[in-house]
C-alpha cells in the first residue's frame, strides 16, 4: 500500500482535487466514512467540512497520520492489507479507497473487506487500459512510466495494476453491485456517460466506482 496517491492533483479554484470532489458527490451528508490510505487527510477534511461526515482514516505513513491529527482527523497508522480484518461488519456507511487498490498485496481480499465493513464502497484507481499505457507496452515494448504513473517497474509500489474492465470483472466476482461508475480523463473530468465500456477503458485515466454488496 502506498502512502502517496498516484495521480497528480488537479484542483478546482478552492484547491480541492477534482477526483475528491467527485467522490464527495457520491457520499450522503452526515454519514460515517472510513478512508483507507487517506494521505494527509484532504479528502476526509473535505467530507467533514462540506458534507458533515463523521470520518475515520487509515494511513501507512507517519507524516500523513501526523498531518491528519493536526487537522483534527481521527486517523490511525495502519495497512489495508493487514488491518481491515479487525473492523466489524457494517461499521461505516462508506469505505473509500482512492488510488490505493493497485498497491495492495491482495486487491480482491481488500475489496471484500470494503464491502463487509461499509454498506457502500467507493474505489478509484489508475486505469492501466488507457491508450497511452497501451501504446507504451505495444509500441515501445516497455512498462509505462508516465506523469501519472511515475515509477519504474522495479521500484513501483503499484504491484497490481488493472484496467477498468478488469475491475468491473472483479466486482462481478466478489458480488459487488455497481451503483455508479465514472471514468475521468487526464484533466480529472468525467468522460461522457453515453460512451460504451471499451471507450471508457481506452480514454479513462482513472475509474471511480460506487459499489454496494449484492
Amino acid at each position: 500500500m502506498t502512502s502517496s496517491r498516484v495521480l497528480p492533483p488537479i484542483e478546482d479554484v478552492a484547491g480541492h482535487r477534482l477526483d475528491f470532489l467527485l467522490v464527495a458527490d457520491m457520499v450522503e451528508p452526515g454519514s460515517r466514512v472510513l478512508d483507507i490510505g487517506c494521505g494527509d487527510g484532504s479528502l476526509l477534511a473535505l467530507l467533514r467540512d462540506r458534507k458533515g461526515v463523521d470520518g475515520r482514516g487509515i494511513e501507512l505513513s507517519r507524516d500523513g497520520v501526523n498531518a491528519c491529527l493536526a487537522k483534527g482527523l481521527p486517523v490511525i497508522q495502519g495497512d489495508a492489507d493487514t488491518d481491515l480484518a479487525d473492523y466489524p461488519d457494517d461499521a461505516f456507511d462508506y469505505v473509500i479507497l482512492t488510488q490505493t487498490i493497485q498497491a495492495t498485496k491482495q486487491p480482491k481480499v481488500v475489496l471484500e473487506h470494503l464491502l463487509r465493513i461499509g454498506r457502500r464502497a467507493i474505489v478509484s484507481f489508475p486505469n492501466f487500459g488507457h491508450w497511452s499505457v497501451r501504446l507504451d507496452v505495444v509500441l515501445r515494448g516497455r512498462m509505462p512510466v508516465t506523469k501519472n504513473m511515475p515509477y519504474s517497474w522495479y521500484d513501483t509500489p503499484n504491484i497490481h495494476f488493472c484496467t477498468i474492465r478488469d475491475f468491473v470483472e472483479l466486482c462481478r466476482e466478489v458480488g459487488a453491485q455497481m451503483e455508479k461508475a465514472v471514468a475521468l480523463d487526464a484533466s480529472g473530468r468525467p468522460i461522457r456517460v453515453t460512451l460504451p465500456w471499451w471507450a471508457w477503458n481506452l480514454l479513462g485515466e482513472q475509474g471511480v466506482f460506487l459499489l454496494k454488496r449484492r
Partner: protein, 391 residues
Amino acid sequence: MTMSSATLPPEPRNQVDDPSSLVARFGASEPLLMDSGGSIGPWQIGYQTYGKLNADKSNAVLICHALTGDQHVANVSPLTGKPGWWSTMVGPGKPVDTNRFFVICANVIGGCMGTTGPASTNPATGQPYAVDFPVVTIRDMVRAQAALIDRLGIESLFCVIGGSMGGMQVLQWAVSYPDRVFAALPIAAAARHSAQNIAFHEVGRQAVMADPDWRGGRYLVEGTRPSKGLAVARMGAHITYLSEIALHRKFGRNYQDRSAPTFSFDADFQIESYLRYQGLSFVERFDANSYLYVTRAMDYFDLAAEHGGSLAKAFRGSKTRFCVISFTSDWLFPTSDSRAIVHALNAAAASVGFVEVESDKGHDAFLLDEPEMFAAAQGFIDAAARARGIA
C-alpha cells in the same frame, strides 16, 4: 554494590505527609473507597498545577505519571534537583502548553510523594501503614484523582495524558468517567498488563521482600531500609525500559574506568556500573513498600475484565477523542498493546488516531526527546482545543 548500613539512605519521608507541593486533604468523613473492599480516611493527594484555569473551566489537562513518577511534571524535583520528569512535553510553548492550559499532575494513591500510601501515617495506629495499606488498583488512583478534580471545581477535563502506567490511568479515566474526558492521549500504554510484565514486577517485589531489612514491611518502624532489595528491583526493571540496541549504543561491552577485566565481580562493564547507579539513586527517592503497591496496581489492570472481557464494550458510546501513541522498540508495552486499544476503540465507533513512533530507545522513549511524538501530540491537542473552543 557498596552500601554500609551505617549510612541509611534518606527515606523520602519528608515528602510523604507534607510534600513540597500542593496538597488536597480529605477528612475521615470523605474516605476513599477502594476496589479491594478496603478504604482509607482521612487521606490526602499531593499535586501540582501549572497555568491558569479559564473562566468556563474548559482548559484543564490532567497528566498521569508512571510507576516511579510524581506530581513534579514540569518543575524542578524537590528530591533530585533535576528538571520535571516531562518538562519536554509540559510547559510554556510545549505540546501541553501551560500558557493555554491549566495543567494538573497528582501523585498516585499508594505513592510516597504526598499522596496517601504505605509510608503515610495510619491514623488508627499512629505508625506508617506499611503492608496494612489496602492493595491499590489503577481505578483507585483514578478515583482519587476524580476527587481532586471535584475539589478543584472542574466538571470535565479537556485532556487526560500519560505514558506507561500513566496511560493506563488515561484509559481508566475514559472508561470510568466518559463524560468528564474530552480528549485522551495514552502513550506507550496497554489496556491490560501482560503476563511477561507481571513476571518482571514479581521479580522486583521478591527482591525487595528478600532483603532482610524489609522486616515484613515494617522497616520504617524498625529503622532499617530494604535498600539492596529495592535497588536490585530497580536495576531489573530499568533493563525493561530500554532496548537491546539502545544498551549496545550507549554502553556496548565497554569497560568502566579500566582497560581490562579485573577477573572479579566488580562492575567491570559500564552497563553494570550504570545499573548500580540507577539502583542506588532510586532508593534515595522511593519508598520500597510504595514500589510493591504501585507495581501491584499495574499487574491487576485489565480494563476489559470489568466489561465482560470485551475492551470494545468498555469504550461503547464514548464521545472522547483518543490519540494512541506507541514506539517501535518498546518491548515492555509493545505496539501490539496499543493496536489492541485502537481496534477496540474502532469497534466501539469511537474517535481514535494512532501513531507508532520510530525510536530505538525502548519503553523510556515516551520520556525522552522524540520529535515525532511531540508532533503527533501537539497536532492532536491543538485540534482538540479548537474543537473545544479553547483560545
